[in-house]
């Protein structure tokens, strides 16, 4: 890890964790002092998508892949209007951007958006630390500050548990994404933006959905007032337990019997709406290589993940059978084969399902794209 600017001078910076572990390194992007929950992501591609994923709001993200920035930043791959990570930790920043679509460098992009990055040699040591001790608060600082004082500030910064962040990242105004030229509009979808990524409405639009993207705190009545064929609850940052407004909206939609599809935070919202509990994972799932098994077919998909919370399965964790909910019987439809975490829920008597991972990928494999088809089929089915 060696990071020099054009003049051969490096800007020192430090990454300090709330348990006192510190990593010295070199700054890139903007100068500053930035706080957030320290998490790691094991994806080897797609840093631009990762940076702009709203689910990373208030998190400092460390990439385990050592070389970042190789392909620069382009005008097509951002997943939202801005970078959301509160800080970025990598090992090697590419001195040049080499890709035919690249418009500017990662360094310049972070600087222009005021995001502080740090390059440290010990990204693996950091990952091992987080794996053992769990995600925790941290700071990246480019200011020569007293470590003790800095640590106090970290300890004073907000926790992720209990944080309501969806309303922070959601669209201020509703907007519509229409099917591309030549694709017939088949369905109207109301998409509750809890931190939605650009690829999601696009994937639906490609399938003939006209997607009305609504702010996070939209009520059930407001959603139903758009007369949707189906309602989508997006991914997003923060603790699902703090997003009661979304749970309420979900319940209203379920009660109305409208087809529901949720992903990521949206899946946790469904879980809570069904009366299940959610909990914080030790260090979460963040990457593009997570094996998820469809428990009904046995098929395994390699999926894109970004979640720090999960739905606690009803009673015993091994249970496969249906369980009761206010909306009829439901099942845990998917599990993560690495650790058994619940990755999908499905109602059997109401047209609703949700998955904890990202069928829109971006970044990551497209194995789960068929979930969008399933949603369309659900909307098509005679009600």
């Amino acid at each position: 890890m060696t990071l020099l600017d054009g003049s051969g001078v490096s800007r020192p910076a430090v990454l300090l964790l709330e348990d006192g572990r510190a990593f010295d390194g070199h700054a890139f992007g903007a100068d500053g002092e930035t706080f957030g929950e320290m998490v790691f992501n094991t994806g080897m591609t797609g840093y631009q998508e990762t940076l702009t994923d709203p689910s990373y709001c208030r998190q400092i993200v460390a990439m385990t892949a050592p070389h970042i920035g190789n392909t620069g930043i382009n005008d097509e791959d951002a997943e939202s209007r801005r970078i959301w990570v509160s800080g970025y930790v990598i090992r090697e920043l590419s001195p040049i951007a080499s890709n035919w679509r690249s418009k500017r460098s990662l360094d310049a992009e972070l600087a222009s958006q005021g995001v502080t990055g740090i390059a440290i040699s010990g990204t693996r040591a950091l990952t091992r630390h987080l794996r053992e001790r769990g995600a925790m608060r941290a700071v990246i600082s480019t200011r020569a500050a007293d470590r003790r004082e800095l640590l106090d500030k970290v300890l004073a910064s907000p926790q992720m548990a209990g944080a309501d962040l969806a309303r922070e990242v959601t669209t201020p105004e509703p907007y519509t994404v229409r099917p591309p030229e030549g694709t017939r509009t088949r369905f109207r979808v109301a998409a509750v933006d809890l931190g939605i990524k650009a690829a999601t409405p696009r994937r639906m639009a490609e399938r003939g959905c006209e997607v009305r993207v609504l702010p996070a705190d939209v009520t059930g009545d407001q959603i139903l007032a758009t007369e949707p064929d189906g309602v989508f609850f997006s991914n997003g940052p923060g603790d699902p337990a703090a997003a009661g407004y979304a749970v309420e909206a979900m319940r209203a939609v379920l009660a109305a019997g409208r087809p529901v599809f949720g992903i990521c935070l949206g899946s946790q919202i469904l879980g809570r709406a069904l009366g299940l509990d959610t909990y914080k994972l030790r260090f979460g799932h963040r990457g593009v290589n997570q094996p998820v098994q469809d428990l009904t077919t046995g098929r395994v998909h390699i999926t894109s993940h970004n979640h720090g919370f999960a739905v606690r399965p009803p009673d015993d964790p091994g249970a496969k059978g249906p369980f009761g909910t206010p909306y009829g019987a439901a099942i845990v439809s998917h599990r993560n084969l690495n650790d058994g975490v619940v990755e999908g829920l499905r109602l059997l008597d109401t047209p609703a399902f949700a998955i904890q991972y990202h069928p829109e990928a971006a970044p990551g494999p497209h194995d789960a794209e068929a979930s969008f088809d399933e949603f369309c089929a659900m909307m098509e089915a005679p009600r």
Binding site: T2, M44, H67, E92, Q293, G298, R299
Partner: protein, 1099 residues
């Protein structure tokens, strides 16, 4: 679990001898397969002619047939074993082709044998380039435009329509054999002509050239539930136009955005499904246009490949092992990831490091061979390195190749900028070093990327390395931060030393004094997301070390590095055996190696695996780390060939305990002067010799020892630059050519023993007792390198008296040198005198051959001896036979013949002509096969069938021999005629034959040109397929040196047509034996286990 219960017996097909394009990676995959099947309780039978493999060790299969991989043999094995299924996807193209033959001959149907892991239609769709392209286009993906041609005229017409350059590619060949890039119609005639010969189905594909596009590979796995995972992406640093086997490659891909990568992944998965790869691994290659991102599919291999071995080592995901499990019915989610022990195999590895592979070439062995890299593979081996950054991995990989000058260097001025940029245009071995020099000379990243087609990102990384040199100039302080910075960019102590004008030892001492040492990270498949329980480690200058502590005494085994001619899989075999034997004896074994193709670098082989270069610096750091983690019993240097042996002295000086033969003893055997004294003391003869650093000195030596003499420079090993010289003129010419000769590096001059029988011996010595492993009699006479000569064990013409002398001499040498462990001695028996040619105090190339032929695990025994066991102990334990040894084999012991496999067919000179195939004192074979049977003729015939294709049993034999060989050729040729062959000969040879009562038809020499009535020359006739056997010894008349060219065209034509070509009269005699044996009747098959049972049944 869903393993199929109906599979009780499975036949595994191996890949045969090591050749360019098919090397030890298939021993690695085959060994894993056999292990998996056995662990599942399935009866395993195996056919592989390569004795140097681990997979052919008797304990890996229930019935191991070291027999030629031919339809005939496979049919016999199937008839005998009656397996339920054949697993052909782990033995490379050889096994896949064999499976197709078994299917097409109806054998599979006849015996009701199923193919598992593959499906005939999928093999065909994957391998038939035209069908494959249709499938890809059907999926909406792109391929380069192309057309299949079946004749040359057709090819010329198509090329005109495609426009030059065009890429020529045959179907069903491996390593791109017969392919090439044609820039002109003349090129096309040359390449397509050869391609039409190389393809078993005689067709070639002419393809639109996409030279210079970026090249990528994906390694995939599919199970029977249609779950697919991409195990690894590999980016070729050399762009399209350089075979992936010859390219410097990096994993994971470095220059793709997620969108591009996922597009590639989606396409790959769609292709796998459409082609219908049954279960298992496969590899798909892509090209991406650097300016537009347009992506095309190049090819797919529906089997485990060299790249999958690389991908397995790069990720820790054992593709072959899992492929074998999938083949017997498991699905990916049912298989555990061994490395984490917790998570399933149905995932895609995440890497938090960078892996670089660098090929190793052997052009110096083939003077005249065109060294420009192209679409067919020319490298003979490869080294892989792992680092936490590309610079670190690249520099480690470069030094792992052990090629002088491979490391980036600042020693000489870079040269002319424009000239260097030009040189970067042409793909060559060491192109990244040329890029580096060009950067030093002031070329820009953009200029070099444009010239070479190498992505600017990689060139920029080299530039980063280049710029760091400024921090190392002698005027700068070398403190800990600077050291850390350059070490994490992969600089070796030697490179730093070079830049500062000090010794590497000084740098090392300083570095240690400053506490700058590497840490070791785990290859864990998951970028640390889960804990790893398998210690597969690599060094890096990073934060935290992950070497696990351990109480058991540890033995570090140093491997042999990249395959090269003279040092290949045989040494890996010995290292792996030592690891197995020592683990069994209670030691924790620690393997150090950097060759991704091997079994030794399988994380399953040893207690711990360090994927590291085998340089002094890197080995010392491993030793340091291991010492810090627990007790160290010692380090083994004598099993990995010359590479670790060469480290013995410095390791000893650094206080590292070498077990077995000591560094001093090694010196006694390796230093000519010292060894001469050992021989003198023992009263053993050596060819008379002397050294010289000028022509007058050389002449004086030659006058004293007498011509012919064998000359060689003293600064190289492995028979490099050796020549046989017959007179003063030639001697003078040699001394003048050998420019690097100096008083420190003189020429060595030996009396050349004409007409001597060469004998190779492998033995064990424990300080008191000698165990003669085997006495091998060479078929070719001394003067043909032992590695290139065929040999027989037990010896076929030596009497008990000769063997007794060999035993006595070997014991004297072992004692005189102070061997503990293995010893290899080469002797020449001339006019009743036994001369010692050389002694190698280490495992040799023949150890696996001898071990298999005599059913005695020599390398295992050697490892135990090194750690203190005596031969008597090992006899008592049963590791060695209770009585007797390889020198006292019973009279009816089977005869094993080793034959060398030479890569001549793969090389052409710059004019597109083949390179000469004559054997000499310099080794050029890449691998070997073994034929084993009850008698010599049959064993020899099997060895030929395995190495080159079956000996003909009828037809035309063409004979043309040097005057000196005429006398010894008469009898065997007469015998050929009696056996029914029609004899053709050149005029001189024909005359001698006629006078001896053999009617021979005279054919025109190449030099004569076609006759008045258009009678073709012999070369034309060979190319036309009119000849079935060629006997041609080099016309190396005394007084003539240098390449002996007279028969050159004949021999290269033989290689081109794949016709057996015998180049020595000794070889001819053996071939005649073989032909007689085949004619006499059925050649049977017998497993090593059956041979061993018979040997052991002896009283």
């Amino acid at each position: 679990m869903t393993r199929r219960e109906d599979l009780r017996s499975v036949l595994v097909i191996g890949s045969g001898p090591i050749v360019i394009g098919q090397a030890c990676e298939f021993d690695y995959s085959g060994t894993q397969a056999c292990r998996v099947l056995k662990a599942e309780g399935i009866r395993v039978s195996l056919v592989n002619s390569n004795p140097a493999t681990i997979m052919t060790d008797p304990e890996f299969a229930d019935a191991t047939y070291v027999e030629p991989i031919t339809l005939d043999v496979l049919q016999k094995v199937i008839a005998k074993e009656r397996p339920d299924a054949v697993l052909p996807t782990l033995g490379g193209q050889t096994a896949l082709n064999a499976a197709v033959e078994l299917h097409e001959s109806g054998t599979l149907a006849e015996y009701g044998v199923e193919l598992i892991g593959a499906d005939i239609e999928a093999i065909k769709a994957g391998e038939d380039r035209e069908r494959f392209k249709e499938i890809v286009i059907g999926l909406g993906a792109e391929v380069p435009a192309s057309t299949i041609c079946r004749t040359l005229d057709e090819a010329l017409a198509i090329a005109d329509s495609l426009g030059y350059p065009v890429v020529v590619r045959p179907s069903y060949t491996l390593g791109g054999s017969g392919s090439g890039i044609a820039y002109t119609a003349d090129d096309l005639r040359l390449i397509a002509g050869a391609g039409l010969d190389a393809s078993p189905v005689t067709e070639v594909l002419l393809e639109e050239s996409i030279l210079g596009w970026k090249e990528f590979e994906l390694e995939l796995m599919r199970d029977r539930h249609d779950n697919v995972v991409v195990v690894c992406s590999i980016e070729n640093i050399d762009p399209m136009g350089v075979h992936t086997g010859d390219s410097v490659t990096v994993a994971p891909a470095m220059t793709l955005t997620d969108r591009e990568y996922q597009h590639m992944r989606d396409t790959a998965i769609a292709v796998v499904r459409a082609v219908g790869v049954d279960t298992g691994g496969c590899n798909i290659q892509f090209a991406v246009h650097p300016g537009t991102g347009r992506m095309v599919v190049i090819e797919m291999n529906p089997r485990v490949s060299r790249s999958s071995a690389l991908a397995s080592k790069a990720t820790g995901f054992p593709i072959a092992k899992i492929a074998a499990k999938l083949a017997v019915g498991y699905t990916l989610d049912e298989i555990r990831n061994d490395i984490t022990g917790e998570t399933p195999a149905s995932f895609e590895p995440a890497l938090d490091y960078v892996v670089v592979k660098v090929p190793r070439f052997a052009f110096e062995k083939f003077p005249g061979a065109d060294p420009v890299l192209t679409t067919h593979m020319k490298s003979v081996g490869e080294a892989m390195a792992i680092g936490r950054s590309f610079p670190e991995a690249l520099q480690k990989a470069l030094r792992s190749t052990e090629r002088r000058g491979a490391e980036l260097s600042w020693a000489d001025p870079p040269g002319d900028r424009a000239d260097l940029i030009e040189r970067c245009r042409i793909p060559h071995d060491g192109r990244l070093s040329t890029v580096h020099q060009a950067l030093r000379a002031g070329a820009t990243v953009a200029e070099l990327s444009a010239a070479s087609g190498i992505d600017a990102w990689f060139i920029d990384q080299v530039k980063f390395i280049e710029e760091l040199n400024e921090r190392l100039t002698p005027d700068k302080v070398l403190d800990a931060p600077v050291l850390r910075m350059v070490k994490s960019a992969g600089f070796s102590d030697a490179q730093i030393a070079g830049l500062r004008g000090v010794t590497a030892a000084r740098v090392r001492d300083l570095r240690h004094a400053l506490g700058v040492r590497p840490v070791f990270h785990t290859v864990d498949t998951c970028a640390a997301e889960f804990a790893a329980r398998t210690p597969y480690l690599y060094s890096t200058y990073d934060d935290e070390t992950e070497v696990p502590p351990g109480d058991r005494p540890k033995v570090i085994i140093l491997g042999s590095g990249p395959n090269r001619i003279g040092q290949g899989i045989e040494f890996d075999y010995a290292c792996v055996h030592a690891s197995f034997a020592l683990a069994e004896a209670g030691y924790e074994t620690v393997m150090v190696n950097c060759n991704p193709e091997t079994v030794s670098t399988d994380y399953d082989t040893s207690g711990r695996l360090y994927f590291e270069p085998l340089t002094l610096e890197d080995v010392l750091e491993v030793v340091h780390a291991e010492r810090a983690s627990g007790p160290l019993a010692g380090v083994i240097v004598q099993l990995g060939g010359q590479t670790p042996l060469g480290l013995a002295r410095e390791l000893t000086e650094a206080g590292v305990p070498i077990v077995g033969t000591s560094a001093q003893a090694i010196h006694l055997a390796e230093d000519r002067g010292a060894f001469g004294r050992v021989l003198a003391e023992a009263g053993l003869a050596a060819p008379r010799s002397g050294t010289a650093s000028s022509y007058p000195q050389a002449k004086a030596v030659a006058d004293e020892v007498g011509y012919p003499v064998l000359v060689r420079p003293s600064y190289v090993l492995g028979g490099r630059g050796m020549e046989i010289v017959y007179d003063d003129g030639a001697l003078e010419a040699y001394v003048h050519r050998a420019t690097q000769i100096s008083p420190e590096h003189p020429v060595l001059i030996d009396r050349f023993l004409d007409d001597a029988i060469e004998i190779d011996v492998d033995a064990l010595y424990d300080g008191a007792e000698l165990f003669l492993g085997g006495v091998m009699e060479h078929i070719e006479e001394a003067g043909i390198h032992s590695g290139d000569s065929a040999c027989a064990l037990p010896p076929i013409t030596l009497g008990p008296g000769d063997v007794a002398r060999v035993r006595e001499a070997t014991e004297l040498i072992a004692a005189g040198v102070g061997v503990r462990g293995l010893l290899n001695v080469q002797y020449a028996l001339a006019a009743g005198v036994l001369y010692v040619l050389e002694a190698n105090p280490r495992a040799s190339r023949t150890v696996p051959f001898v071990s298999k032929a005599t059913a005695t695990p020599l390398a295992k025994a050697a490892a135990r001896i090194m750690l203190g066991a005596t031969i008597a102990d090992l006899r008592a334990e049963g590791l060695l036979p209770a009585r007797g040894d390889g020198g006292t084999l019973p009279l009816d012991a089977p005869i094993a013949v080793k034959e060398a496999v030479l890569p001549f067919g793969r090389f052409r000179d710059t004019k597109g002509e083949g390179v000469d195939t004559v054997l000499g004192p310099e080794m050029r074979s890449t691998g070997e096969v073994m034929g084993i049977d009850e008698e010599f003729g049959t064993a020899y015939a099997k060895s030929q069938a395995a190495a080159y294709g079956a000996l003909p049993v009828k037809g035309r034999a063409f004979v043309s021999v040097a005057n000196s060989d005429k006398r010894s050729m008469i009898f065997p040729v007469k015998r050929l005629a009696d056996l029914g062959f029609e004899i053709w000969a050149t005029a001189g040879t024909a005359e001698v034959l006629r006078r001896n009562g053999v009617r021979a038809k005279i054919v025109r020499k190449q030099g004569d040109g076609p006759g008045p009535d258009g009678e073709p020359t012999i070369v034309t006739r060979i190319l036309d397929g009119q000849v079935d056997l060629i006997v041609n010894t080099p016309f190396g008349a005394p007084g003539q040196t240098g390449p002996r060219v007279d028969g050159y065209e004949i021999r290269t034509a033989a290689v081109r047509r794949g016709i057996p070509c015998v180049t020595t009269t000794a070889g001819l005699a053996a071939a005649v034996h073989g032909i007689e044996a085949i004619q006499r009747g059925e050649v049977g098959v017998r497993s090593l286990q059956e041979h061993a049972a018979r040997l052991r049944a002896q009283p």
